[in-house]
Structure formats: structure tokens, C-alpha cells
Amino acid sequence: MKTIQTDRLTRTFDKGKVTALQEVSFAVEKGEIFGLIGPDGAGKTTLIRILASLILPDSGSASLAGFDPVRDYARVRQIIGYMPGRFSLYQDLSVQENLRFFATVFKADLETNYPLIKDLYDQLAPFKNRRAGQLSGGMKQKLALCCALVHEPEILLLDEPTTGVDPVSRREFWDMLIRLKARGITILVSTPYMDEATLCDRIALIQKGTILETGTPAEIPRRLSRPVYAASAGDMYLLLRAVRDYPETHSCYTFGESHHVQLKSGSPQDLLDFLGGRIPGPVALDQIEPGIEDVFMDKMTSRT
């Protein structure tokens, strides 16, 4: 049995006018970090809230450790730890008070579950008397995770825990998730940051309420039908426009220090020849291993 399983979950808002989720099916194995990767408005929050038994699907079903979040919502709530996308702790209570409060809500004993949150708590300890509202973004997320863990949940549902958090704190947060996974906790996490995909065991790319792809972060890019080339030159902006002017270009996107190019047909040499007369100075064009973001954009364009 899969730890989390959904079967054609569909949910609309505003009397059917807005479709947030359209027949979403996926499964998460026990002890896995499963990433839901997609931009704002893709349906990540709706999906996580349905799993957390906080909203009802219009159709389709789900199960968490065998419990249905619609019928057995009370059981589901006992085994999940949930962290909403918005910071949802009491800003006017201190770190310590928040922890104690959530421990009581979950009828959990802080001391018994201490090993689970020890790592996090050690980082929070210097600020334990500070009000939660005055913590930095990264620290707030750590506290929220701590509060979601006080009752030793089997499953963690994290909705965009790293949004708006700086890269260093983000990395620390992910290190923490990986340590929790080692304890057998199943983690479903959503994020708009494509680069976090590689930290998950498996991912689902989600856009406009539908899942574009599921698989491991390594296998998904291999499914791209066209090779991806990285192009760079002295004047990157000029290069971008020139590549896009090339009739056989399928797509060309900026990717940090290089542009990623996919061609409809023809060889990369043809492109270099084309660029030769237009770009001053040398142009580098090398085939590369595509990443998640390449796949995401490819899927997005092929759909619209």
C-alpha cells in the first residue's frame, strides 16, 4: 500500500468557473520525499489542503496511510503534520509558548518527541523567548516545522515551506527534511523553486491543475525528445535575439550564464553558421544534460 495515493482528484472554485485541480493522480511511497513542483496558481495548495482534510474534492479520492481524508478526517489529522504556505503560528507568543501550545493541541508530550525535533530545537533555542512574529523568514519556517512535528506524524504535508526564504536558509531547511526522511517520515512538499527538485526522491511537475510529469528528478529530464544546447557569447542579450530569429529554433530561454536552446531540426553547426554573421566574437554551443526547468518549460509550451 502506498502511503499517499490520490485518484483523479478534481476541485473547482467559484461554482465551477475556476478549476484548481483536474483529475490529479499520483502515489507516494513510505519514507519518500515527494516534491510538487509548480508555479503559483498551479494547484499545489489546493492539493495539499485536500490531503490535509481541510477542503473537500469535487470528485476523485485520496488516501493517507489507508485513511480517506473525506470520511476518516479525524484519523488523518492524527497522523499528519501540516505546514500551510502562510506563516501560521501565533506571532504574539514566544517560540517556546508556540511549541508548548501545539504540543497540547496534539496531545503530545514535548519531552517524548524531543529526539525528533532536537536538531531544529537546538537551532531555535537561542531565540526561545522571542516572539514568533519577530523571527526571520528562515527561522519562522523552522519553528513551524517544529510545531508540525511535535506529535510525531507519519506524514508531513508542507506547502511551500521555502518560498521567500533566502538560499542559505532554504538549504538548511532541506537538510532538515532529509534527516526527517531518514527517520521514516513520508514527506510531501511543494515548491515553486525548480532547483529544489533535485533534493526530492521523486517529483511531480504541476501546472494549471494538472500533473505534467512524475518521476525521479534524474529520469524526468531524460524524457525530453530534443537535445538541449547551452549557448553563450560575449553579448548574451544579442545572442538570445539572434537564436530566436533562427527559423529552426524550437525554443531558446535564458538560463543563468547561458541560454538553453532546442532545435526543431538540423544540426547545432547549422545554428552556429547562422549566428556567425550576426554575433561578434566567438559563440559556444554545447549539448548539455537538461534539467527539471527545461522539462517544465517544454511541457508548458507544448500544452499551450
Binding site: G38, P39, D40, G41, A42, R86, F87, P126, F127, R130, G133, Q134, L135, S136, G137, G138, M139, K140, Q141, T163, G164, V165, D166, P167, V168, S169, R170, R171, P192, Y193, M194, D195, Q207, M236, Y237, L240, Y253, T254, F255, G256, E257, E293, F296, M297, M300, T301
Partner: protein, 252 residues
């Protein structure tokens, strides 16, 4: 004339120094990336540059105006856009454009023509009378940027403009930034996407209220022996001594 030049800019809150003697300058038409961990002093520095916050000490000029004395002049000559505050959801696209144009004393007739041109260029013509709340996020961000620069400021400040936006829209957004920079606009941008740091002409990384590094992305990667800007950033920010926890600083 430099678009921005600051010297020993400092801001203290009580006995806490949020921004500690920073000095730099930004040329006209430059895309200047301003990075830093939460609480490194980014927001405070940016507010001082926009004329929203008085520096405790130090001096500087933004768009040629003194940040200590001419904050009103500065506000007229810069554009500002952030992910959090951008446009009004219960107004239509056209109304938003007209409203923000009105704030900068653009004559109404001229504004009217300009706004139609802008709507056309963004391909929003057919949707100009739709309330903004019905727009996809990506459209809103693009519109917000266009609105922020419609009074032709010398500099535009972008505070995490692309957070949560899908990868294609994010790139289209950067295309717009590039295009505007080609046209001479100075762009001062903060971001949490490290690949976006690569698009900047120069990047400044703040750690503990000070400038830890400032150079082109290429030179920074070479200097810190890193593959990409993400690594550079982490190497620098790991060295932070100041806890990231500063009162009233958290974003979420």
C-alpha cells in the same frame, strides 16, 4: 553622472546596525543585482535608496539627487515594484495604468495615449477592462513592471519581482528587463533565484549589513572558485556571524 552613488551609507535601529557603511555606484543602463540572506540589510538599504528611510549617516545620490535632502525628488525619478505590493486587484488593467500615471503628474491626454500603447505592447488590449484579480500572476507582474516604468524614471527598483512566477513568465519578465536596460534604464533588482543573478551586469552580495562582494557574475565565480552564483552566495553567506534574526525583519 552615475545613476546611483552612495558612500558609507549606514542605518541604525537602536543599537543595531542594519546597514553598515556601504559604498557602491551603479552606472546608467546597468542591471545591478542586490543579493543577501534574510536580514542581511537588503530591504533597509533599498528603502534608503528609494527615499523612504533616512540614513543614520553617510551620503549618496540617486538619479542625481541627494538622499539626505531630496527624497521627494528621488521618488519622482525612480520606479518601484515589489512582489508584495504592486497593483490594485479590484481595478482593471487600464485603470491601474491610468492611476499610477496620474501619481507622477503625466498629463491626462498623454497618459491616455501612452496607456493604450502600453496595453497593446503587452498584448493586453482585449483584456484591458477586466479586473486585475482575474489575471494570471505572470501577466500581473509584467503589467506591474510596465506601470513602474511608464513615467520614464531613470532607475527602477525591483524587490523580488519574480517570486513564485512560472519559469517561462519569469524569463519573459527578464526579457523585459533586458529590453528596458538596453534603452538606458537602470535596474536595481533583488532576487532569491540565483540563476537570475547571472543575468545581472554586476552583483552585490550583502552579509551582516556590509557588502561582502561586488563584481560581475563571471569574476565572482572565478574568485570564489564556484560553478554558479548559488555556490558563490552560499560560500559568502555561510560566513555570516550576525544571526539572521533581526526584529521586524521576517518576510513570512
Amino acid at each position: 553622472m552615475k545613476a546611483i552613488e552612495v558612500k558609507d551609507l549606514t542605518r541604525k535601529f537602536g543599537d543595531f546596525t542594519a546597514v553598515d557603511h556601504i559604498s557602491f555606484d551603479v552606472s546608467k543602463g546597468e542591471i545591478f543585482g542586490f543579493l543577501g540572506a534574510n536580514g542581511a540589510g537588503k530591504t533597509t538599504a533599498m528603502r534608503m535608496l528609494c527615499g523612504l528611510l533616512k540614513p543614520s549617516s553617510g551620503e549618496g545620490r540617486v538619479a542625481g539627487f541627494d538622499i539626505n535632502l531630496q527624497s521627494e525628488e528621488i521618488k519622482k525619478n525612480i520606479g518601484y515594484m515589489s512582489q508584495k505590493f504592486s497593483l490594485y486587484n479590484d481595478l482593471t488593467a487600464r485603470e491601474n495604468i491610468l492611476f499610477y500615471g496620474g501619481l507622477y503628474d503625466i498629463p491626462y491626454k498623454e497618459l491616455k495615449i501612452k496607456s493604450e500603447r502600453l496595453l497593446d505592447r503587452l498584448g493586453l488590449g482585449p483584456y484591458a477592462n477586466k479586473l486585475l484579480r482575474d489575471y494570471p500572476l505572470g501577466w500581473k507582474q509584467k503589467l506591474a513592471f510596465s506601470v513602474a516604468i511608464q513615467h520614464q524614471p531613470m532607475i527602477v527598483f525591483l524587490d523580488e519581482p519574480t517570486g513564485g512566477v512560472d519559469p517561462i513568465t519569469r524569463r519573459q519578465f527578464w526579457d523585459m528587463i533586458y529590453e528596458s536596460a538596453e534603452g538606458g534604464l537602470t535596474v536595481f533588482v533583488t532576487t532569491h533565484y540565483m540563476d537570475e543573478a547571472e543575468y545581472c551586469h554586476r552583483v552585490c552580495i550583502m552579509v551582516d549589513g556590509r557588502i561582502a562582494a561586488m563584481d560581475t557574475p563571471q569574476s565572482l565565480k572565478k574568485k570564489y572558485e564556484s560553478q554558479n552564483m548559488d555556490e558563490v552566495f552560499r560560500k559568502l553567506a555561510r560566513g555570516a556571524v550576525r544571526s539572521p534574526d533581526v526584529p521586524g525583519r521576517g518576510k513570512r
